[in-house]
Symmetry: C2
Subunit: 413 residues, 2 copies
């Protein structure tokens, strides 16, 4: 089944907000074998919304729409849908009841603007929103369906999981299966890997496609199978995946789709090891990535974010003479940090970072983007220097990624 | 000047990657007064790319395109553009030279796939990419411009800042000014604020528009002015903004656009105070948000991420009897954590969190989404309990947001 997503909101077109709803929706639909053909992001403008709906309905039968449903004047989606699908807005007492309850639970008081949330087109089926005040609206016309959902991610996600996906599956029973198998590969550039796998790729059955999703130092390889007979497709895909595993051997460090932190967690669990982090330039982001994984408390004890040098010295026990001699961004300092946090938090493994995320802080020989990373497993320790040189946010994210990759590499030895 | 963005890549339509390029591009264009009308995300399919280009060019004169330029077989953008704009692919020695240099600097070896990166349409102007191997391609046809850029954010950002924006401004000199003024407001729901400001909004000049961008507990209010005479517009906008400031008074905690961590940083700098964090359930994310702000080392010393209870006891000095008596998710424990980190890292202020991000970990009376947050400024301490109840990632992000807001609120008292 093919679907399109329309995202509404001026704030997205001026870049004040990044749309994360589309990728969440796409991921959810992907799991049930539905395909998103196109995502269109438009402003809070009547004609632009109408035109986006028309063009999407020329291509597909289902549109999922998010945003533009706030109680304020710049949100005009409801009026626009009312015009497109016909009918008029009316005051829905059930929506009002839901919103009264919502406000009561949160201890907030209702006002006139909130009341406008209960005005809905009489041409749609309303799906109550228990986690917010903007109702979900299901429209049908000429065999095509449009579902309008709030732009607040938690509200959209709740509506999709609990109501919209089950109703869509019932409305459009489908039997084309889409299956994916993914693995994470290190030690290759994208182009080197593509060369290495060119004959494997050429020999794949027509129903199976290979895709490369590279990030620095790691390539996510995805095999996608598509066909009518799900169990045959599953066998075919599994066979191709096994061939890929044989071909790549130990270069694969995770045999399914996972974030770097999830892959690290699996390796730690497999070996029964614990880990801690000591972060300077990454400022808690490695800890954040690791603890974003459910169940990480099984192997992660904590972090010392030693942003100030005094914290490196007083809490982690780094020798101030070493900082003086080699500079705070040095292999010597990260090695002392990694040992310090292993000792303090009593873990088997540890990761430490010290670098210059920018825009300030560069010193001669150490430009913005320079980072020293140390990883330890028991007595074994490896420290490396990298140099990126992007913006602060990108640097922090790359330093974090490389630290996780370096720890994974040590665990895979 | 009106622009559209076309984003290419199967990985986006199955939700494996979230597009952050569009919002970055939109933000950059917004600064020079250009407007993004629509963003279209399409798959790596010839006909879909062609159709997206046709529809965009029906609306605007400039298309900025990202993605689909990798050296692998699933990236077909270059061939597609070659067909749309005419011409044929040829081996560009200048691109090859750039890529040789790039590989040399990174110490990588070139292979055949990488060589295909030097194949470019002879119908475009090539802009060299010093930070990657996919060239930037500038096409012109019938007075319209399409610029194709790599999907790797750092490469796209470099190309946009250094080459594409300067060239676009030269190619399309424009004199419609767009100006924004933004402030951050607390203590209101979106609907209550919209009611409170309804007469202010009604009295705004036609050239000025008010928008509400709410996140829990905070509303970002944006005034946008649009007109030919930039200095008149600036005065008009400043006057409306002053009226808004007068109306909202101390409910405004930041008088320009900023992240919560940036707003907190400004308040700390203004008062000459330092801060540390002690994080359990937020797992380093508060530290990460704070240190994402350039210059945060002026007020931020560090964090103890005390994920394991032993770290709370051994490093932060939380009384194990208190954990036993009240549970680890309690006001008593976060207050001891905040005091512990103030003492250990010697700061004026501190923030501590302990909660249940989920999916596991709920205990009777404390469902997933429960968090206790304590903030301290000197001797003064405030602890509060919140309950959200979303997915793990959303909970971590909301806990972090509320912790920053609670600290900001204490500093504003």
């Amino acid at each position: 089944m093919n679907v399109e997503i329309i995202v509404i909101g001026d704030e997205l077109l001026i870049g004040q907000v990044t749309d994360t709803n589309s990728s969440w929706i796409a991921r959810s639909l992907n799991k049930i074998g539905w395909e998103v053909m196109e995502i269109t992001t438009v402003r809070d403008r009547h004609v632009e919304i109408i035109s986006a709906i028309r063009q999407s309905f020329d291509r597909v039968d289902v549109i999922l729409m998010t945003g533009g449903l706030g109680p304020t004047k710049d949100d005009i989606t409801k009026q626009t849908l009312c015009e497109y699908f016909g009918g008029k807005l009316f005051f829905d007492v059930e929506v009002q009841k839901n919103n009264d309850l919502f406000f009561e639970r949160r201890g907030l008081k209702m006002n006139d603007s909130t009341r406008t949330q209960a005005m809905v087109p009489d041409s749609c089926t309303v799906i109550q929103n228990p986690v917010g005040t903007a109702p979900v609206m299901w429209f049908e016309k000429d065999g095509k369906v449009l579902v309008s959902m709030p732009g607040v991610p938690a509200e959209m996600q709740h509506a999709m999981s609990e109501e919209v996906i089950p109703r869509l599956r019932k409305r459009f029973p489908d039997n084309t299966a889409i299956l994916h198998k993914t693995c994470l590969v290190k030690d290759f550039s994208e182009s080197a890997l593509s060369e290495f796998l060119s004959d494997f790729e050429a020999g794949l059955p027509d129903s199976i496609k290979l895709a490369y999703l590279p990030v620095p130092g790691v390539i996510r390889l995805r095999l996608t199978g598509r066909g009518e007979d799900e169990s045959f497709l599953f066998r075919q895909l599994s066979e191709s995946f096994s061939q890929l595993e044989d071909r790549l051997g130990k270069h694969i460090f995770c045999h399914h789709d996972a974030t770097m932190a999830e892959a690290l967690g699996l390796l730690l669990i497999r070996e029964g090891l614990t880990i801690a982090t000591a972060e300077s330039c990454t400022g808690g982001n490695i800890a954040h990535e690791i603890t974003s994984v459910p169940g990480s408390s099984a192997y992660y004890t904590g972090s010392v974010v030693s942003y100030a040098n005094e914290v490196k010295v007083n809490v982690l026990g780094v020798d101030p003479g070493i900082i003086e001699k080699y500079g705070v961004v040095s292999g010597e300092v990260v090695e002392q940090m990694v040992r310090g946090v292993q000792r303090l938090l009593k873990t088997d493994c540890a990761v430490a970072t010290s670098g210059i995320a920018g825009p300030g802080g560069a010193v001669p020989g150490k430009p913005v983007g320079t980072v020293w990373i140390a990883v330890a497993k028991g007595d074994k320790i490896i420290s490396s220097r990298y140099c990126f040189g992007d913006s602060r946010i990108v640097n922090i994210s790359r330093f974090t990624h490389m630290a996780l990759l370096q720890m994974i590499t040590l665990l895979c030895e």
